[in-house]
Symmetry: C2
Subunit: 203 residues, 2 copies
Amino acid sequence: MTEQKATNVTWHDHTVSKEDRLKLNGHKSAVLWFTGLSACGKSTVANTVDHILHEKGIHTFVLDGDNVRMGLNKNLGFSAEDRTENIRRIGEVAKLFCDAGLFVLTAFISPYRVDRDRVREILGEGEFIEVFVNASLETCEARDPKGLYKKARAGEIKGFTGIDDPYEEPENPELTLDADNKGIDELAEEVVAYLDSNGYLSA
Amino acid sequence: MTEQKATNVTWHDHTVSKEDRLKLNGHKSAVLWFTGLSACGKSTVANTVDHILHEKGIHTFVLDGDNVRMGLNKNLGFSAEDRTENIRRIGEVAKLFCDAGLFVLTAFISPYRVDRDRVREILGEGEFIEVFVNASLETCEARDPKGLYKKARAGEIKGFTGIDDPYEEPENPELTLDADNKGIDELAEEVVAYLDSNGYLSA
């Protein structure tokens, strides 16, 4: 038993801290939380930022509908309760990635302020970067790549954000992107410039 | 609209693949799934392996009770249904970390074979490394660092693994560690040697 206790003491020395992981990576970590209407360009901008950062040798990961709705959150539907739980779980996973030393980019409509603010609260100072991808409903509805707005207008989809369910704009986002008037690459560069000028990209 | 469509085409080129992330890190990725009785040494061995890998410049992360039960899975209890959901979520998060190019080490009792096998199924070939931390009930009960076995024997905790709930040993684990007879450092080195000899530690 004495030997085992000694090993337990060693355990604390062996824990790799968040600071250790940041040092290995050579940069800080944060959650880049992209929010906005369906078809506003969240996922496209997030993936473009991801690409730019990756090319710089920065460690990143994207959480989006493709890898979350089919896996971790596949047992959630679209009720008010399930939408809140959806965002809660994504926030908790984003926090784990941030603790692991990565920039995690999330691309979900996340229409409710209270849900987004709850994610901000579980993260440390400067670790939650809310990126409001601001495209007007008109722009998004004109794009409508999956025909979802059309279905919502026809009443075939209920509770669709922007049509019969509200989108609550961020009050104090770290970044607001003008997705009505600027192209994807320009918006992505704005995000990277924000990270760079705020010291995120060095250790 | 034409411009937007062109941007969408570009999007696919901009997606950073798992292979791209592995290339940046310079090593493969996998889930090291430590399983065994309470107090068998899972967490201690996992953290020691984590430390050794980190010192080698390898990108890692540990998922354990400390960062999962208080966060992602804080709305789960200990019913049979919740235990299964607990392991399912951990498995899905581990898969995301693996996709991000990291070695993720999980340290949970995970007593049921079907739950562990379900995690194996969602991962790719060679990405699920089941590490059975094999300590006898006698050893674990003699350690009992948190007095949990004592409480379970007294009937103060119900459904405690090894006492009044079964631990289903892995049938074909990638690794079995003899935690009755070997020390933590020796066991951790066995895990690292497995990764090294199976080509995980290079790109």
